[in-house]
Amino acid sequence: MRFALAILIGFQLVGEVLRQILHLPLPGPLVGMFLLVTALVVRGDGHKAPTEIGSPLVRTANGLIAQMGLLFVPAGVGVIAELAVLRQQWLPILAGLLVSTVLGLAATGLVMHHVSRFVETRRRTLPAAAHHREAR
């Protein structure tokens, strides 16, 4: 368990160091997450899930993710320092929140639905295309 937490913090540290060295505009923990995904995928054989359910890393990760809500509270309380911004710009904030969330949701759902349907019908009518895909 402690070792698993060390892996997470270690990857975060490596991400932070890479960010500094390469002047990446990305946050350190995100670089660390990308590195850990790569490591997990490379270690897996590519067919079954690269992460076993019972492993300490999976248990620690799931435990942290399950309690993630608690971790946002300190940063979120900082909104009391931004109350002036909220009061002044409530209309752009509220409109931006509603419009961009609904548009993003609709765009993702529509594209996913229609593209996968298109690909699946083509795969059924054109076996050669399916073959080509399997080969890759």
Binding site: A75, G76, V85, M112
Partner: protein, 241 residues
């Protein structure tokens, strides 16, 4: 009575322990309320906890810096928790292989629409740059959104509130909007929830269908990566204007 309260309060108010405990109690309180509301996404424990702590700070006249001195220990765990998101992402990455085109194009469409429309609406209605870049990453899971807002010159606290509020909007209207658009595919419902509403909306759709849960987890992770590229680019555009 009041004097007795003060003698307890005065030394406690300056130790980190008090605000550490207050944060955890406020969150537990939020979870109890959500359970009492039959897990409605409207009663989100994080929003309840933020409001409760904010009211407590205002009523006791405690500055945010004093509060954060205690709560920073919780805040620190956000880093490892963000790295931990790699585990569900890696576990669900195999779904990409089977719906490669759908996932790739939908991710691109959803991520661009969400970030660009957020910045555009704020700008059109007269909001300033800091507000626009607090809005831009709000579709992403909160720890990543926080870090991206900080990087691009937004207000991280505002982003944290917006990310959760956006997740609530997506959780409440998501199913209805998608059905209205005649999207009847669980993979699309799950992926859209993950991309547009991150963890909050994913929690709403995940119990409905296993495939939806997997695609929601995939949407959260992949959108985090793509938005991390889009938001800094948008930031450069606004400076260049």
């Amino acid at each position: 009575m009041e004097a007795a309260l003060l003698t307890v309060w005065t030394p406690l108010a300056t130790t980190p322990l008090l605000w550490l405990a207050a944060t955890i109690v406020a969150y537990a309180f939020g979870q109890i309320i959500q359970r009492a509301c039959r897990n409605s996404p409207l009663a989100h424990p994080v929003l309840i906890a933020i409001a409760a702590v904010a009211v407590l700070l205002e009523s006791t006249g405690t500055p945010y810096a004093t509060y954060f001195a205690g709560a920073q220990f919780i805040n620190f765990l956000l880093g490892p928790a963000t790295v931990a998101l790699a585990v569900p992402l890696a576990a669900n990455l195999r779904h990409v292989r089977r719906s490669f085109h759908g996932v790739g194009l939908a991710l691109l469409a959803g991520s661009l629409t969400s970030t660009v429309s957020g910045v555009a609406v704020v700008w059109l209605l007269g909001g300033d740059r800091a507000t626009a870049f607090s809005m831009a990453p709000k579709g992403v899971t909160t720890p990543i959104a926080l870090a991206l807002a900080q990087e691009a010159g937004g207000l991280p606290a505002l982003t944290a509130a917006l990310a959760i509020a956006g997740g609530i909007v997506a959780a409440v209207v998501g199913g209805t909007v998608l059905r209205w658009l005649r999207v009847d595919d669980w993979r699309a419902h799950g992926f859209a929830a993950g991309v547009a509403g991150s963890g909050v909306a994913a929690a709403q759709v995940a119990p409905l269908n296993g495939l939806a849960a997997a695609f929601a987890a995939l949407g959260i992770g992949l959108n985090g990566l793509l938005t991390a590229v889009i938001v800094p680019l948008l930031g450069l555009l606004w400076v260049a204007r």
